[in-house]
């Protein structure tokens, strides 16, 4: 339910009493709040206090000219819509008024319908202008928040390193320093690595967003590249006590994409599956073609992702804030990168998770279609049978 909105105010400035009266009558009937003034000076005062959405002003008045009123109203608020009333044969003046910022003009005499039409159009235009201004403000705020956040993320590890070195230097005369030196050097190295990871991930993201990584569409068989990635993580997994399993066909999981991009995608998912697992756990990658898609599942046996976090999991810089996960280093960009890559390729990524039992990430990518050979028979084989592309 929206809040009841106060009626928009329209100010009418005209030296003709009958005109003021009939305008008020029409505007009130339209559900608008009208205020009338008999000359420019009073009218401008009225505009300043009433803050109307629209001003109707007669161009030919004693005292301050209507033309001057037009420009002074916009000094008060440039968003106020101005409609000028002109006597016969003063179209030139009307055009001049519009050059000064008036929205439209009404030549005298005009019918109630004409006034209604022009007022409604004017107020609609104002509403749209205010909306787009609001949208612009929101966009700027969003951008500013993003920049603040990113610079905070980049500075935090640097600050820690800097502070360690500063303190180490200032402690130099004391005996404690020997004990601290080794420990702090190690921590500094860790934080520098963290920063490097963040910069690397951010660059990948920028490339994916800029399209440079996803532009290339060649035939890539996932049943070939995923085992290669798994191989590079054998040692890491063993060190964490996680066993790696692969249920992939020998071939036939072909998609159209960039090899590097796809490597980044599965590299991220596999690393996560190892990082957020538990000792004795398993990481299983399985894949199969299904209905014109290639479906890959990366399943871990970690602590799972609480339901409340799942909607944000693929957002940039989002990290699960539970104690276990917080200790695991990460940039908060990995899954966001995955999502960007997958959607650039026209696919989807989703997650199933059961608290305490682990999470499964599902990647669905459009299957590779052989381009029709020129002059040859059209490939009649449906995607289901067209599994071997190797």
């Amino acid at each position: 339910m929206s809040e009841p909105v106060a009626p928009e105010t329209v100010v009418v400035i005209d030296d003709d009493y009958a005109m003021r009266l009939s305008c008020t009558k029409i505007l009130t009937k339209m559900g608008l709040h009208s205020q009338t003034f008999e000359d420019g000076a009073r009218g401008l005062e009225g505009v300043a206090t009433a803050k109307p959405g629209l001003v109707v002003v007669d161009l030919k008045m004693p005292g301050i000219s209507g033309m001057e009123v037009v420009s002074r109203v916009h000094e008060i608020d440039p968003q106020i819509v101005i409609v000028v009333i002109t006597g016969y044969a003063t179209i030139d003046t009307a055009v001049q008024a519009m050059k000064c910022g008036a929205y439209d003009f009404l030549p005298k005499p005009f019918s109630p319908d004409e006034l209604r039409l022009i007022v409604n159009r004017g107020l609609e235009r104002r509403r749209l202008a205010l909306e787009s201004q609001q949208h612009e403000i929101e966009q700027t705020m969003l951008k500013r928040r993003f920049v603040t956040f990113v610079s905070h993320q980049l500075r935090t590890p640097l600050v820690a390193v800097h502070q360690y070195l500063d303190v180490l230097k200032s402690l130099d005369q004391s005996s404690e320093v020997q004990a601290k030196r080794q420990e702090w050097t190690d921590r500094c190295l860790k934080r520098v690595e963290e920063l490097q990871d963040l910069i690397a991930d951010w660059l990948t993201l920028a490339r994916v967003e800029g399209g440079t990584l996803t532009k290339e569409r060649i035939k890539v068989d996932l049943s070939r590249i995923i085992p290669d990635i798994l191989k590079t993580y054998e040692q890491t997994a063993a060190a964490e006590g996680v066993s790696l399993q692969s249920h992939l066909p020998e071939s036939g999981l072909c998609v159209a994409g960039d090899r590097n991009c796809l490597s980044v995608l599965f590299d991220n998912l596999i690393t996560n599956g190892i990082k957020y697992n538990q000792p004795g756990g398993t990481l299983t990658v399985s894949g199969s073609p299904s209905d014109g898609e290639i479906v890959i599942a990366v399943a871990d046996t970690g602590v799972g992702i609480p339901e409340k976090y799942r909607p944000y999991l693929f957002d940039e810089f989002f990290r699960v804030k539970d104690e276990g996960a917080k200790k695991t280093p990460g940039t908060g960009l990995g899954l966001h990168i995955c999502k960007r890559i997958v959607s650039e390729m026209g696919g989807t990524i989703s997650v199933d998770s059961l608290a305490g039992a682990g999470s499964t990430f599902w990647v669905r990518l459009p299957a590779w279609h052989e381009p029709e050979s020129p002059g040859g028979s059209p490939t009649d084989a449906g995607p289901k049978t067209n599994t071997d592309c190797g």
């Binding site: 603040t148 921590r187 990290r319 804030k321």
Partner: protein, 137 residues
Amino acid sequence: MSAKVLLIDDDSDFRAAVKSLLESHGYNVLEAASGHEGLQMVAAHKPDAIFLDIMMETTVEGYGVTYALKFRDDFAAFRDIPIFMVSSIQESPDARFPMSAEVEMIRPDRYLTKPLDIPEVLRLLDEAVGASKGVPA
């Protein structure tokens, strides 16, 4: 008795460095990794000064701590503890919440930028703690 300084910051490395520094200058250092934990520490230990990180990931952000300490009745006994607000970005509440009347409610005693300037921090702390306790650290 040496003065107690509470460090509220979610970066354990930053806390470790500052803790060593302050300890080497005779301060008794307490640590909290979140605003929530920080408020508990304040209530339990009544520190003489607080270093408070503005941008923390946890539920009670820096400004929440300042607000609680300066305005909440259950923290009335701690209203005079000097708060040094610390951030890696030069960011005062005035800049973050422009034109907002609430700015007055979250204004700390002092802003410092990370990494901390060691001589400045030691001087400020000495002034603050000396002033509040009447004894130099």
